[in-house]
């Protein structure tokens, strides 16, 4: 599904990503962990076209997408959520998700017809799937952090991606919220047969759903494999102080 080959990116003299190679198979759940500053967000930005890599390639569904514009990559079936809240604050929850569906279905260019009720059924169905259908008309910027994170997920799912990239999906959440969020994500991913690549800080989260884990440290993958293997890895234990080992 997704294949990263020797991706590199430096800013000035600082190497953010120094030769990362990784694959994600269809329907697979892979987690990238690593301390702050390890390069996780930069790696995501390289994959989704926000930044161009200095060298290396990104292949998605057999196609080379290295350095393509974000909107093109999204249209190919890659969905993404952001670490910080990145929604459309003055629009309602409904409008947030509806807009993504309108864009995905290619109706964005239509200058005629009212947009207010377009794809209502599909939007409400998606809202129901992520548990926000009762707050559809609330202004998204006024909702709680957790709810906004759910909207983030909804927007990413609206593009009907085959691969979902989630950047720290449970950042800033309490223990209960985290459990719920992960359960939701896990269920949706399995129901829709999606591949999932996500970054995380919380070890419990990672070990609960990841099928494979990659450990990023100073821009390099120092370990990669099934959870138990990674947990036992001496390098990982040395580098990754804290968390649950």
């Amino acid at each position: 599904m997704l294949e990263l080959r020797d991706l590199r990116k430096s800013f000035g003299g600082f190497t953010a990503v120094g030769g990362v190679s990784l694959t994600v198979a269809p329907r697979e759940i892979v987690a990238i962990i690593g301390p702050n500053g390890a390069g996780k967000s930069t790696l995501f930005n390289l994959v989704t076209g926000h930044i161009k890599p200095d060298s290396g390639t990104v292949r998605f569904r057999e196609r080379d997408i290295t350095g393509l514009a974000p909107h093109s990559i999204c249209r190919m079936g890659l969905g993404r959520s952001f670490q910080r809240i990145n929604i459309f604050p003055r629009l309602t929850v409904f409008q947030n998700v509806q807009a993504a569906i309108i864009a995905h279905r290619g109706h964005g260019h239509r200058l005629w017809g009212r947009s207010a009720d377009l794809f209502r059924r599909e939007t409400m169905a998606l809202l129901a799937a992520i548990g926000l259908e009762d707050r559809a008309d609330a202004v998204s910027g006024e909702l709680s952090y957790g709810a906004q994170k759910q909207i983030e997920l909804g927007i990413a799912l609206a593009s009907e991606p085959a691969l979902l990239l989630l950047d720290e999906p449970t950042a800033g959440m309490s223990a209960t919220e985290t459990r719920d969020a992960i359960a939701l994500i896990g269920r949706i991913v399995r129901e829709r047969g999606l591949s999932l690549l996500f970054t995380e800080h919380d070890m419990e989260v990672v070990f609960s759903i990841a099928e494979r884990i990659g450990v990023l440290h100073q821009g390099r993958l120092i370990a990669e494999g099934p959870p138990l293997e990674v947990r036992a890895n001496a390098d990982v234990r040395r580098v990754y102080l804290g968390g649950h080992a």
């Binding site: 989704t48 514009a69 974000p70 909107h71 999204c74 249209r75 993404r80 952001f82 990145n86 929604i87 459309f88 604050p89 003055r90 629009l91 409008q95 509806q98 807009a99 993504a100 309108i102 864009a103 995905h104 109706h107 964005g108 260019h109 239509r110 200058l111 005629w112 017809g113 009212r114 947009s115 207010a116 377009l118 927007i155 609206a158 593009s159």
Partner: protein, 322 residues
């Protein structure tokens, strides 16, 4: 905000149409000015309020539309309908060329490039004596041939200036209707989304630059129509139609009325024209008054006239329910 019922629209239009019979020639004059500027300001709002793009050079397209109409009608004797159709085409084409470069920039750089382009247009109008009449502009732009109106029952008895007002009203109403359809459409929704979060819009599959350029061209085209109508109303065109102060004027109108509402700019245009009339009758220091109004607006009423009214209305509704 729930869409206003069609009845209110029709009533408003009828009220405006009745002005030539209700008031003196002066009222018709003011009303023509307001209606044309309402279109100009609403076209800017497609960029400002709906897409989040701040243009300091929107007057360029107003000027291009005005000069196109004037040159075609005065110098080449082209009939009004053709000249009116040509104005948005040329203005839109210019917007496409300028916009292509502008949308590759963001925020302050975007604004400054729009300003630079507008001043270039002004400079061309100012210097190209042969075509644009240079500093003197083009005067004596003729009224369109409205002879056919004299045959109509009510309208036949009106003076040509008032007949022209009715033509302006019909054209502007049609343009505003088209703009309303556009902002309510899926395309309009994409623009709002870009305004709210352009980065996220990219990651949802929207080619932001292309949409911004489309908005830029549409806004420019409608500004061109307003310019063409104004050229005739003013009986002449002058380089300062494209000057940055005109861009500032239309920007202020839009914000004064409220850039968050469709009718905000139109209300702002009316407010500014009427204020100008009233104040310049008493003092020559209109810029001072305008500056003070603007400051008060920015601090106390950021939503503009319509925005403040809507917010107050919501509060009242909330209070009455409680």
């Amino acid at each position: 905000m729930k869409p206003l019922p069609l009845v209110l629209w029709a009533a408003g239009l009828a009220a405006l149409a009745a002005v030539p019979w209700l008031g003196s020639r002066f009222y018709t004059f003011i009303a023509t000015d307001i209606v044309i500027l309402a279109l100009f300001a609403t076209s800017l709002n497609l960029l400002l309020g709906y897409t989040g793009l701040v243009s300091f050079g929107h007057a360029a397209y107003f000027g291009i539309g005005a000069y196109t109409c004037a040159i075609l009608m005065k110098t080449h004797g082209v009939p009004f309908p053709l000249a009116l159709a040509a104005a948005p085409l040329l203005a839109g084409a210019a917007a496409a060329v300028f916009g292509f470069f502008c949308v590759r920039l963001t925020r302050i750089y975007f604004a400054m490039l729009t300003l630079a382009f507008a001043q270039i247009v002004w400079g061309i109008c100012f210097k190209w004596n042969a075509v644009t009449g240079g500093e003197q502009g083009i005067s004596g732009v003729p009224y369109p041939d409205l002879g056919w109106m004299s045959a109509l029952p009510l309208v036949g008895s009106l003076r040509v200036g008032e007949q022209y007002y009715l033509v302006v009203l019909v054209v502007v109403a049609a343009c505003l209707a088209v703009l309303k359809v556009i902002v309510d459409s899926p395309f309009g929704r994409m623009l709002t989304v870009i305004r709210e979060n352009a980065e996220r819009a990219e990651f949802v599959g929207i080619d932001v630059r292309r949409y911004e350029l489309a908005a830029f061209v549409i806004a420019g085209a409608f500004a061109g129509v307003a310019g063409a109508l104004f050229a005739i109303f003013n009986r002449g065109v002058f380089p300062d139609f494209a000057y940055w102060s005109k861009s500032a004027e239309v920007l202020i109108m839009t914000i004064l009325g409220g850039m968050g509402q469709f009718w905000g700019p139109a209300v702002g245009a009316a407010a500014l024209v009427l204020l100008n009339q009233q104040i310049t009758a008493y003092t020559q220091y209109w810029p001072f008054v305008l500056g003070v109004i603007l400051i008060v607006l920015l601090f106390a009423f950021p939503g503009g006239i319509v925005g403040t009214l809507v917010a107050a209305g919501r509060r009242l509704k909330g209070a009455s329910r409680a």
